[in-house]
């Protein structure tokens, strides 16, 4: 076990990938000279050169598409889209090309592309820079969607993603970059198939992912003081979802709350809730509840942003509504 920040974990994984496989290269806006908008690739340009740490112009659709083409051409591109907010400009390439090529070509082509992007709110960046649209990506057949919430997952999900023969979208929550945590140097136990129980509990299952994990764990501690023993599940992989672990948890707790930073209507939390009803209806002692973001463009002031985003208080209150 070694301690490092989420940012360092990603940088370590990037460096390792670039060193290990000559087919791997990093491409995106300001990944080189600037060192990455979140400093994830700081130092990598000097170490690997301009060919493999490639600063891209502001042309999201085309450099993401170029990543798809390079993957078709046998490379293992890691494309950094600075944030999910800008990824909308490249969404056509993801939906219509990256996600369709294998199936549409009758299995002839493979797109081993990894796209990384920062996501989420919490830094007072207002309406155009605070999106959390993981649910949209999780809706697209043909891709795998990851949301590392721990430093260890930040360290090991990237190499696992690079082993995938098909496109992988990796969401890094912008609030987590400075977070410190333990990394298991063996990388054991990090796969792209399973969710993780981050806290075992008997009374209620709190299901979440990404940046919301920490607020949810905080809520679980507060609930413990109130005599409610919450289990916290980190989905980790948003597509395909590991619902088996969720159902198993609910079979024990019979209650669930889904915490998701996305806007409530059409959120991934809604999908989780629907699948729980479809598959664990008889296990439920209460309806599944959701704690999501307010349905408004994100306001700039701290007090309004805090009110818009899921918070431990609201998670606790929601659990109390369905509990006892």
């Amino acid at each position: 076990m070694i301690r490092m920040t989420y940012r360092e974990a990603i940088r370590t994984a990037l460096r390792e990938a670039l060193a290990a496989d000559s087919r791997v290269f990093l491409m995106g806006e300001d990944v080189g000279r600037y060192g990455g908008a979140y400093a994830c690739s700081k130092g990598l340009l000097a170490e690997f050169g301009e060919e493999r740490v490639r600063d891209a112009p502001l042309a999201e659709s085309s450099f993401v598409g170029a990543g798809i083409g390079a993957a078709l051409g046998g490379m293992r591109p890691i494309v950094e889209v600075m944030t999910v907010n800008f990824s909308l400009l490249a969404l056509d390439q993801v939906v219509n090309n990256a996600a369709t090529l294998r199936h549409m070509s009758g299995g002839q082509f493979s797109v081993p592309l990894v796209v990384r992007m920062a996501t989420g709110g919490g830094r007072q960046l207002a309406a155009q820079h605070s999106h959390s649209l993981e649910n949209w990506y999780a809706h697209i057949p043909g891709i795998t969607v990851l949301a590392p919430a721990t430093v260890n997952d930040a360290r090991w999900m990237l190499p696992a993603a690079l082993r995938e023969p098909d496109p992988v979208i990796l969401f890094e929550h912008a609030m987590l970059y400075p977070m410190e945590g333990e990394v298991d140097e063996s990388g054991a136990g990090v796969d792209l198939a399973r969710a993780a129980v981050r806290r075992a509990g008997r009374d209620v299952s709190l299901i979440t992912y990404g940046g919301s994990l920490w607020k949810t764990l905080d809520a679980a501690e507060r609930l413990e003081k109130q005599g409610i023993d919450a289990e916290v599940i980190d989905l980790r992989v948003l597509r395909p979802l590991d619902m088996a672990m969720v159902f198993a948890s609910i079979a024990r707790t019979h209650r669930a709350v889904v915490v998701d930073e996305g806007w409530r209507t059409g959120s991934l939390a809604g999908e989780i809730s629907a699948q729980i009803m479809e598959n664990a209806f008889d296990e439920l002692d209460a309806p599944v509840r959701r704690v999501c973001s307010a349905e408004a463009p994100m306001p700039y002031p701290k007090h309004l942003e805090d009110a818009a985003l899921p918070q431990a208080e609201r998670i606790v209150a929601t659990v109390r509504e369905i509990y006892g």
Partner: protein
């Protein structure tokens, strides 16, 4: 604009190869139109009729190591690239023996063995793919050309400019082939572009460019030959704007309200196939018997292609989810 080589400098064999190349596409697509009206081919069908000189002229200078990226109007490119006519026709039928296992249809022809990367139906969507294929070649130190075909309408999309800039900025070996047939569906070039000279747009992105008579297969062959040599020598991109015209409707749904019969008839006088045969006749490189034989070959090829398609099986419904992603088992390997 580049002017054609004199037919005289052509060998009889090459002359016949070019004529055959265009004619077999023409006959293939005429059959497709017929099969569409019979309901054997469905969905969208975009015919290349009138534009054959471009695909045929261009493919002459592209080797098996080079890559092709095309649009939804790509039957001609697939055939000129050497894809099996039977596999292409079977794809149009949606049969499992089609070149995309029947899943793509007319707009999504693929052939990994011939580095034919498709078949893109979102206008402009294939251009970034071409940039990436060329980038892969550059990073892998492979000397190859990626030829990317697209229409004049694609020039209005931001991706056109973004992709040309990337290719020029990163010095990537992409051959941009703009098939300027003067219309984007029902919108004439001058009604969708304020500046209709597409070579200027390429130069503004740092890409060398030239305009060519796309109805003259020899002019296309010559221009592509020189462009490909430039790309192989420098590793830098080059754009050719090929002036051409679509003789048929945009798709089988199009009522053609936006252009006059006269305009179409006018352009048909520049038919690349009739034009070449005439010049070859004049140059003493083509006899009536030759033409008859070439026609017969083309017809036979089409009939055989239809037979292959007819004989094909439907992909079982159970396979609907196959190849959405690679199954875990397969990944282990």
């Amino acid at each position: 604009m580049t002017t054609a080589l004199e037919p005289i400098s052509l060998s009889r064999e090459r002359a016949h190869a070019l004529l055959r190349g265009m004619l077999r596409i023409r006959r293939f697509e005429e059959k497709c139109a017929e099969l569409y009206s019979l309901g054997r081919i469905r969905g969208f069908l975009h015919l290349y009729i009138g534009e054959e000189a471009i695909a045929v002229g261009a493919m002459q200078s592209l080797g098996p190591e080079d890559a092709i990226v095309a649009t939804y109007r790509e039957h001609g490119h697939a055939l000129a690239r050497g894809m099996a006519p039977g596999a292409v026709m079977a794809e149009m039928f949606g049969k499992a023996n089609g070149c995309s296992r029947g899943r793509g249809g007319s707009m999504h022809l693929f052939d990994a063995a011939r580095r034919f990367y498709g078949g893109y139906a979102i206008v402009g969507g294939g251009l970034p793919i071409a940039v990436g294929l060329a980038l892969a070649d550059k990073l892998a130190r492979r000397s190859r050309v990626t030829a990317c075909f697209f229409g004049d309408g694609a020039v209005a999309e931001g991706e056109f400019h973004e992709s040309l800039n990337l290719a020029a900025l990163w010095k990537l070996p992409v051959l941009w082939l703009c098939e300027n047939n003067l219309y984007a569906m029902g919108t004439a070039l001058a009604r969708h572009q304020a500046q209709t000279d597409i070579t200027l747009k390429a130069r503004a992105e740092g890409v060398r460019a030239e305009a060519v008579d796309g109805m003259d297969v020899l002019a296309v062959e010559n221009a592509v030959h020189r462009a490909a040599e430039f790309i192989r020598a420098t590793g830098e991109p080059f754009l050719l704007e090929l002036h051409t015209y679509r003789f048929r409707a945009h798709s089988m749904y199009d009522a053609e309200l936006y252009r006059s019969k006269e305009e179409v008839e006018q352009w048909k006088r520049h038919c690349p196939i009739a034009g070449l045969s005439q010049r070859l006749r004049d140059g003493g490189l083509l006899t009536a018997e030759d033409l008859f034989a070439i026609e017969a070959d083309a017809m036979r090829e089409v009939e055989e292609a239809v037979a292959v398609a007819e004989a094909g099986e439907w992909e079982p419904v159970e396979d609907l989810l196959r190849d959405v992603v690679t199954p875990r088992e397969a990944r282990a390997q």
